[in-house]
Each structure stands twice: as structure tokens, then as C-alpha cells.
Symmetry: C2
């Protein structure tokens, strides 16, 4: 593995000092920002995440803020999910699609008020699409990337740790809801959410000056809980079927191909730019779709490119994420599989970077 070169363009976060002090070993770049990927090792980080509690610098989940009279209208133009029933204080996972129905991002929309939204984005400059649409349609809305940096607290002991810092009321936050909580005199949005299946919270830190104080407060409060610095874990997120934009889906894919059809209300999401393109796919269904696959044999090499999936010598899909799971003692993988071969139990071959592996399509993910 090669090193990552420092530059201002690959942005540090308000938590980077803490991440470095905790001994980060590897990064990826996400929304042109540093995202840690390894502390001890991917496997050790994985075991710890499932047993204790971790603090994650996910500042790279940048916010796109929509503010103004047309904010709600614009938000509905971006997604085929019907947002009419969404109340302030709610978080919705929303596929964002272009005019062809291609996925541009798969963010979480946070409704702060009728005229104020945050879109907490995956890895693409979604703000440029939003600004282009707002400009072209002459909408009355301000669009910006505020310096709001999510800090995630994930793992089975997340409730215990958060209660010590924010008070017992955090325990009452329901899944994908958020509340406002005080830290050192500032009111922060705290949501029950995060990119793992181990439970936990995301704190939206909107002031650089309290970034490291909050980081340090969590570590001090959690010493006896074995709190550690962590990051989204490759193995755990594949086991849990958490898709990664850019890995498991791109703008080539419709939400239906990504298994996100349940978030597409093509009959009622009036105003959505991609709605026309999605009407037919919603009716007839996609011809390929995301599936969990188990790859036989010992640990596969890093999945740094799409691996062809073959059956009877014909290409019938591709694996886009894969890792060896110590808990399930198999290689867990996510792939896009043609409908001819997507039924659970189908035997296929996967052409990895270091050879062909037998594999089987599964009914669902592991967690």
C-alpha cells in the first residue's frame, strides 16, 4: 500500500488532531476530506466496534444546507421519496437522482424547519447539482456548505457513553430522529443514526472551537467503557448491508437497482426531476440488483476495482465490496447481479484480482 500525500485540498477536519493522536494508520478521501479507515487493524477495529464503543470522525459527511421559501420544494425536486409527511426533527434517507433516474448521492436529509434543511451527503459534490437546479429553475433558496461536522459514537455501549456527556435524555432519541442537546453552552443536533449496525449517534458539531473539547470529553467520560477512536468498518458495513456510494452504486444505477425502491414514491413524489425516468422501472422492476454474496476460501485481496461475476462463462454482474469476516468465517461481499442469477442459493464465480472464487448469492445480509 502507498502513502497518502498531505495537501490543503484534501481537507483536515476539526477532529484531525484527535485522530492523529489516536494513531490512525490509514485514510481514504471522502468529499475531498480525510476519512480514517484503520486504527489498530481492520479486524481489530471490527471486534472492538461490536463489543464496546467508538468515536468516529465522519466530518466528511458534509452538509448541504437549503434555506429559504423554496427549500422544501427544491428538496422534493431532488428525490423520488415523498417528503410531504416529513416533520421537522426527522431524518430521512433519500436517494437523489438526476433526470435519467441515476443515483447522484444517497444522503440523509435532516429537516430542521420547513424552510431549512441539511443534506448529510455521501461522496459526491451534490451541492453543485443542487445549486445548478436552483439557479436554472430560479428558486428562492440559499445553498451552502456550512462547516457542520458530524462526530459519530457507535457500538453497543454508545448509549452509556452519550448519557454521561449529554445526559440521560439522549437515551430517548428514537431511530432516525434528532434532538437538540447542550455541550459547553452550545446547542447541538444529536441524531440516533450512523454507518454501522451496532447502534449509536451522530452529533452535528457546528463550531470548530468545540470540536476537540467534545472529542476529549467523550474519551474522558468513556475510559472504563474502553472507548476508542474508530471509523466506518469495511467488514461490519458489508455484513450489515450498508451500501457505499461510489463503491456499490454510481450514477449508472437507479435506486431500484440498489435495492432502494422502497424509498421511491414515484406515484406521489410530484416535482422530482427523475420521476418520469423512474416510473417505468418502478412498474417493471430492475433487471439487475444489489445482492449479498459469500465468496469461498480464505481472505480475498482488497476489492480496489469491480470484480466480474460469471456463470457458465458469461458475465452476469460484478462484486464491488468484499472482505473476510472473522465472525461469519467467510468472505462477505456486495455485488450487482443480473435477474437471471439473483435468486438466493445461485452458484456463481467471482473473478477477483488474484484468481477465481466460487460464490453463492444469499437471501440477505448477515446482520
Amino acid at each position: 500500500m502507498a502513502l497518502i500525500s498531505p495537501s490543503r485540498r484534501v481537507r483536515r477536519t476539526m477532529f484531525s488532531d484527535g485522530v492523529e493522536a489516536a494513531g490512525v494508520k490509514a485514510y481514504t478521501v471522502y468529499n475531498r476530506m480525510l476519512l480514517p479507515t484503520v486504527f489498530e487493524s481492520v479486524q481489530e477495529d471490527y471486534h472492538h466496534l461490536k463489543e464496546a464503543v467508538q468515536v468516529w470522525d465522519v466530518a466528511c459527511e458534509r452538509q448541504v444546507e437549503l434555506r429559504g421559501p423554496d427549500a422544501a420544494r427544491l428538496m422534493q425536486m431532488l428525490t423520488p421519496r415523498d417528503l410531504r409527511g416529513m416533520l421537522p426533527g426527522r431524518c430521512f434517507y433519500v436517494p437523489i437522482v438526476d433526470e435519467t433516474g441515476g443515483m447522484l448521492n444517497d444522503p440523509v436529509a435532516v429537516k430542521l424547519a420547513e424552510d431549512r434543511w441539511w443534506i448529510s451527503i455521501a461522496d459526491s459534490d451534490l451541492m453543485l447539482w443542487v445549486k445548478g437546479i436552483a439557479n436554472g429553475y430560479r428558486l428562492d433558496v440559499l445553498i451552502d456548505e456550512p462547516d457542520v461536522s458530524p462526530l459519530a459514537v457507535q457500538g453497543p455501549k454508545a448509549d452509556a457513553l452519550m448519557a454521561r456527556v449529554f445526559g440521560d435524555a439522549v437515551r430517548d432519541i428514537r431511530f432516525f430522529r434528532f434532538g437538540m442537546f447542550d455541550f459547553q453552552g452550545r446547542s447541538l443536533a444529536v441524531a440516533r443514526s450512523g454507518y454501522s449496525k451496532q447502534g449509536g449517534f451522530e452529533i452535528y458539531v457546528d463550531d470548530t472551537r468545540i470540536g476537540m473539547p467534545l472529542w476529549n470529553a467523550l474519551f474522558e467520560a468513556g475510559r472504563d467503557l474502553d472507548v476508542r477512536a474508530g471509523c466506518p468498518n469495511l467488514i461490519e458495513r458489508i455484513e450489515g448491508g450498508l451500501l457505499s456510494y461510489g463503491n456499490d452504486m454510481t450514477d449508472d444505477n437507479t435506486p431500484h437497482e440498489c435495492g432502494l425502491g422502497r424509498f421511491c414514491d414515484t406515484q406521489t413524489a410530484i416535482g422530482c426531476i427523475g420521476r418520469d425516468a423512474l416510473l417505468r422501472v418502478a412498474k417493471e422492476g430492475p433487471t439487475k440488483q444489489v445482492r449479498a454474496l459469500a465468496l469461498e476460501g480464505g481472505p480475498v485481496p482488497p476489492c480496489d476495482r469491480a470484480w466480474d461475476i460469471e456463470a457458465n462463462g458469461k458475465r452476469i454482474g460484478q462484486v464491488t465490496s468484499a472482505a473476510y469476516s472473522p465472525d461469519f468465517k467467510t468472505n462477505v461481499a456486495i455485488g450487482m447481479v443480473r435477474m437471471t442469477h439473483w435468486d438466493s442459493g445461485t452458484q456463481v464465480q467471482v473473478r477477483t484480482t488474484d484468481g477465481v472464487r466460487d460464490a453463492v448469492v444469499r437471501e440477505g445480509f448477515w446482520l
Copy 2:
């Protein structure tokens, strides 16, 4: 320095096999693609670039293709540079601005035909802005990212090497022009351009299958020219005043602040979306602007964040790129400086990551 984690999301290029075989030591991520940054060392790569010839994998300079009856109209909406006199076969450096005049990218536009353009982009998802605008204004144009990967040949011996592979006619290509040249039966656009001041070419490779054959052909033809794998060099590009989008400018900056006022024809670039916002700045001039600075003392640490520039204890700007230059025996730097202190010869202090350095504002860059 930490490692970079492999994943499909951080895309490999059609030349990655060659880059790895050549012993790449470090990468950055540029347009969600791997961009090599170090082979031997930044300093050894620098000396070699100035003496011989290098082949650079700059596939990360992705293309945004505009095709259709409204392509030329859309292209003019994107930039304040007047494109009316631009003929097919020309490359123009074009600042791209949003409705506030903020820089969204600083690409090279390649005019293939009246109704077909490539925008060879710097590090931002410009395609999303272009698609949003085209959709909002209902323009008759197709927008896409074709798999066209630039391969650069840079250095004083670039003409000699290229002539061996493409024939002597490549020597006649003028600066920022391109011609079509054959390689293994395919016609490729070859431009005299590149992100160094050492001269050279960029080949737009539009077929993955000839990527590695072309890479190998260049290395075989150039053995006695000491051809090596290289990459944009931090020291050389600062000496030459080549700005880097994301480092030396962001969407906070106008073209005039970036010293790109000469590319802004605000009186005649009718249709440019940011024109109104730029009219005043064009008349009155910016209040801060890019400058070359020399920082005293030994080599500075890596410039991984903006460093404040101070005078009399007040913040008057920031350094955004810096490196020690062996040839000029000083730290060469690029910064944004307030007009009160931007005259050449002004003494300032720069707060680097490992202490304050005396510095001086220069008249111009080094090359």
C-alpha cells in the same frame, strides 16, 4: 504519513498497472481517482523532470463532454471568458464560476467541434453543476463523463520522445493546440499542454485497451532519454506559479482574486451565469489576490492546511501551497494576500505548522 486505503470508490486508471510497476510511493485522490504524487522522492522527481522526460498518469483530469445543438451556448454560460473567437482544434483555459462569481473549477476547454466540447477538469464534480444548469434551462445538450484519460509527457525531452512514437509532426503542434495522431490504428487527440513549465504534451486516450500499450511504447522508445514515470511535482508547479484548485483557490474566490482576471471578458461574455457578479469586481479589482512568497529558513513542513500570513500581528492572508526548492534555495509558496500587503518586497510572517517564518511577497513566480 498514513497509508491510503484501496476501494473501488477511489478509482484506478487505465495506467495504474504501469504506475505500480514503476514503484509509486504515494498518491493523492483527485476527482475520486488515484493521482500519483511521488516515485523516487519529491526532490528526485523534480530534478529529473527538469532534465529529462516523464510520463504522467493524469487520467484524473476527467472530461465532461457537452454534445448537441446547445453545447456552445452552455459552454459560454459556464465561463466569463469570451469564447466567440474560439475555433475547433483549440484549447482554452477557462475559469468556471457560479452565480456569485465563485470559482467552481479551472479546467481546460477543448473544442472538438461547434457542437462537441470536452472540459478537462480540475478537482470538483463539475459535471453535476453543468447537468443542473442544462436541466434547469432545458438546454438541448447531452452531458457525460466519457472514459477519456489524459496521459502527459513532460520535460525538456518530451518532443524527442513523442516524435518517436507519433512521428515528427507532433513537433509542429503549437501551445494549447491539438492535433489528431495515430497510435495502433486509433486516432488520439494530442495537445501541447500539461501541468508543468518544462514543456510537453497531453494525449487524450479514449480506449482502455490501448492505455497500457501506449504507456509501454513510450517507455520502450525513450529508454536512452532516461524516460521515467512521474507526476505533477509540488516544487516545480509552485516555482512556475501553476495554481491548484482546492489548494490555492476554492469556490470562495473570484477569478480576479486568483489572478485570472485576464480570462474574464465581463463586457462581452454574454450569457455567463456569473457575469453580473463579476462586473463590479472587474471594474474595481479584488481586495486580495494570489501572490508568490518566499519563506526564509530551511524546508517547511508539508502545507496540509492554510497557514495564516500576518503583518504587525494582524492576519492579512494565507499560504496555501509551499515546498522547499533545491534550485532556488528557498521555500517557494503560493498565498492569497490582502491588497494592503500584496506589493512585491513586503515583509510578512507566515504561521506554519511548526512555527513562524519570515517571508517576503515577490513580484512574480520563479519560472
